[in-house]
């Protein structure tokens, strides 16, 4: 073959690159005599490396329970066509003890610099899920017993969705999220105006922390660490309203 063999078309190069091992070695051979092709191939390699670096870590994330349940439900009742809804039927016997506001002594604002991880995670979750029309939550409040049992099990701590009805917000459901070091629970609330609140809860080994404020454009959060749980309530509400809600959530979570 002549070294200046006219370069193959890019489409043919793609066929070879994503072909058999023999195709690939043929392509390498072609590239040795074609600098432009070699440069193109190097660019494709960089693209593939970048795409793998970007997206393969997703495969290492903890699997959402609902996906595993889809398969497990079929294992339990291997009826063709029955997949997917079994988890809804999964017995859920946990009872919910709703918290009641009992007076708040310790709440006060703590000056905050850069939002800590906890508040950031809560605000990011709020920003991501509160705007969701069709899938704001993974398990709805109509299946609250299951929600509570599931989240408590995955967090390794009893999670009781606080009752924020006194502030006009009702639970619409929740979901499990990957947290910094352990899974996190996200409970979503909504009021009559359709405004939403995200209560983010995860295990925390750090020292107890009183109510603190953090904000980013378009969202704010009050966060605290108490009794091994780090919590943050995030939304886009007047600061005092959010603080009142955070106090209510604190009591609901800790004093139920």
């Amino acid at each position: 073959m002549m070294p200046q063999d006219p370069t193959i078309s890019r489409e043919e190069a793609l066929r070879l690159r994503h072909g058999s091992a023999a195709d690939r070695s043929r392509l390498s051979a072609l590239a040795t005599g074609d600098a432009a092709l070699a440069e193109e191939l190097a660019g494709w390699d960089r693209q593939d490396a970048a795409l793998q670096a970007l997206y393969t870590p997703v495969a290492d994330e903890p699997l959402p329970e609902r996906l595993l349940e889809t398969v497990r439900a079929t294992r339990r009742a291997p009826v063709v066509g029955a997949g997917g809804t079994g988890w809804r039927i999964a017995a859920a016997v946990a009872l919910i003890a709703l918290g009641f506001v009992a007076g708040w002594g310790g709440a006060r604002l703590v000056p905050s610099g850069a939002p800590p991880m906890l508040a950031q995670a809560a605000m990011a979750s709020y920003a991501t899920y509160a705007v969701e029309v069709t899938h704001p939550v993974e398990v709805g409040a109509d299946d609250e017993a299951h929600l509570v049992q599931w989240l408590s099990k995955r967090l390794g701590a009893p999670i009781r969705p606080p009752d924020l009805a006194s502030e006009g917000f009702t639970l619409i459901g929740g979901r499990l999220l990957p947290g910094d070091t352990a899974p996190a629970a996200l409970l979503m609330y909504e009021d009559e105006l359709g405004r939403r609140l995200a209560l983010y809860i995860t295990r925390s080994e750090t020292a107890e922390r009183e109510l603190a404020f953090a904000e980013e454009p378009g969202r704010q959060a009050f966060w605290w660490v108490d009794d091994g749980l780090g919590c943050a309530l995030s939304g886009d509400l007047p600061r005092e309203t959010l603080r009142r809600l955070a106090v209510a959530a604190y009591h609901g979570l800790t004093e139920a």
């Binding site: 489409e11 066929r15 970048a50 997206y55 595993l68 889809t70 066509g81 920003a127």
Partner: protein, 169 residues
């Protein structure tokens, strides 16, 4: 490996592909769940020849296209990739470059993104990817060519001497 074990083992890969395709965690997991339910309901159709992932990819892409037809236009979220899981050793400019690639992927038409991810992320051959997409290999090759050229234009400042002539291909 029993069928259900294989299905379960395929979930992480499906999630990665769906996340890259849809660029939204929830929507991606919905698509994976939809795919799993469809696959489980049709397990009688799985003949055990060829790679299960190809069969699953075909189902996923069909469900994806069904979803596209149904989907309402919704507010576009700020699709910032979560780069926090990258190895800490990666330098800031690597992260920036990856963020650029993620943003550029969002600019590709969905069929091109789906195609490129099959070969680049899933490591499928062109023939496997064409089967999963249900299109001719020639169609796929030109789709891939367009996807790679666009991605390159959007992300690479590249060696200046070699840039002209690439863009218009």
């Amino acid at each position: 490996m029993p069928f259900l074990d294989e299905i379960e083992a395929a979930i992480p890969g499906l999630r990665a592909y769906a996340r890259a395709l849809l660029r939204d965690r929830e929507a991606a997991d919905d698509l994976v769940q939809d795919t799993l339910e469809t696959a489980l309901a049709r397990q009688g159709q799985w003949r055990g020849d060829g790679a299960l992932r190809g069969w699953l990819a075909r189902i996923l892409l069909n469900r994806f296209r069904d979803g596209l037809r149904r989907r309402r236009p919704t507010a576009v979220l700020a699709l910032v990739p979560d780069l926090s899981d990258l190895p800490a050793a990666r330098k800031a400019d690597d992260r920036l470059a990856l963020a650029e690639v993620h943003a550029a992927m969002g600019q590709l038409p969905e069929d091109q993104r789906a195609a490129l991810l099959l070969v680049a992320l899933e490591g499928m051959s062109l023939a496997e990817a064409a089967r999963a997409l249900g299109c001719a290999e020639g169609t796929l090759a030109s789709r891939l060519g367009r996807a790679r050229a666009t991605l390159r234009q959007l992300t690479e400042r590249g060696p200046v001497s070699q840039r002209p002539g690439k863009a218009g291909e």
